[in-house]
Symmetry: C2
Subunit: 208 residues, 2 copies
């Protein structure tokens, strides 16, 4: 692309550095911003700047936070005996958006993946151990990716915590609502048959 | 989506105001920016801020410019007797990127579209008239949308300039390179047969 304005070119190049944004999309967004009121563009850039400079990571659960401890961890109305272990803050947002979970979280920062060079030292497993030991956590709900790496991480954590009196569970695996049996992979289908539920449980879990 | 950080939520909402960016894409971009170095995010926001506050519109051709007159209009190496008339600055970028055109431009700012309330008064037709009259323009190349509105605009401008000694041409319409005949619409196909070229012209135009 050939630009007749360095200002436009610079803005397009900055946008195109974001993953998933090509040059054409970047140009479209820049021309859109050019059409917007200056104060709206200032609101856009300052929201991003503030986000990057001021966001903190909760020192308890490693979720993003506006303060030293995140608003989930400080919320006394939540059940602090349950901790849901997730890979990223994106998973926290996904689970919070269901509005069905009232416990706390622990963001590992990833899962064990020797091929990517991610070992236990790169994950927040030590702080999870401390929380379970000192904060009266009774149940850890492992909500990690349903992959070999996810399962390995679950087993690794379970072994690290084996001397502590905590119940470790994982989220249910099975056929998704609206999913079609014939398109489910064999592992999932086999597991959902092996872990079948009596009808009353099914009705309860669908309704709650 | 439920966020545990107002800073993240604000940034996601600002991104999601851009057309074509949904909440999920906005969140992905924000989390990507969160991973980037602070100085890279500053470069991103300041490039956008500078673009919006400092970009000007060339007072000759209405293209975007970093100065009062754009770098295409001030370039003495370009052929100032040819002016290519386009709808938007995006068209200027598209034609400049071909690196095959060495004349100047005139950005109309749209095309006549009574349904959208766009009449001649909303377009830069007056300044085009002045340029042709005073600046020695010999040829106007109309590169507008191949639609009824585009054709109407071409005819309107031609009528406005009928007393001036300027040649008005339009870009060639036809089957695109790599296009398949069977998928071409009837209008285009009919026109490309009616305006067929002798083979030597075809070879010349393909090779130049």
């Amino acid at each position: 692309m050939v630009f007749s304005s360095k200002l436009i070119e610079d803005a397009v190049q900055e946008f195109a550095r974001l993953p998933g944004i090509g040059k054409k999309t970047a140009l479209r967004l820049v021309l859109q911003l050019l059409k917007m009121d200056e104060q709206d563009v200032d609101a856009f850039t300052s929201a991003i700047g503030r986000m990057r400079h001021e966001v903190q990571f909760c020192k308890v659960c490693h979720n993003v936070a506006d303060t030293e401890v995140c608003m989930i961890c400080v919320n006394r109305a939540r059940n602090s005996t349950q901790v849901c272990v997730v890979e990223t803050i994106r998973d926290v947002i996904a689970i919070e958006s269901t509005q069905q979970y009232n416990g706390l979280y622990h963001v590992l920062g990833g899962i064990l993946s020797p091929l990517d060079g991610i070992g236990p030292g790169q994950l927040y497993i030590g702080t999870l151990h401390d929380r379970v030991k000192n904060n009266g956590v009774e149940e850890l709900i492992m909500a990690l990716s349903p992959t070999i790496e996810g399962d390995t991480t679950v087993y690794y954590i379970a072994r690290q915590l084996k001397d502590l009196p905590v119940r470790i569970t994982t989220i249910a695996r099975g056929i998704a609502f609206g999913g079609e049996l014939e398109y489910a992979d064999e592992m999932t289908l086999a597991r959902s048959i092996a872990k079948r539920l009596p009808i009353e449980n099914y009705v309860n879990s669908a309704g709650s």
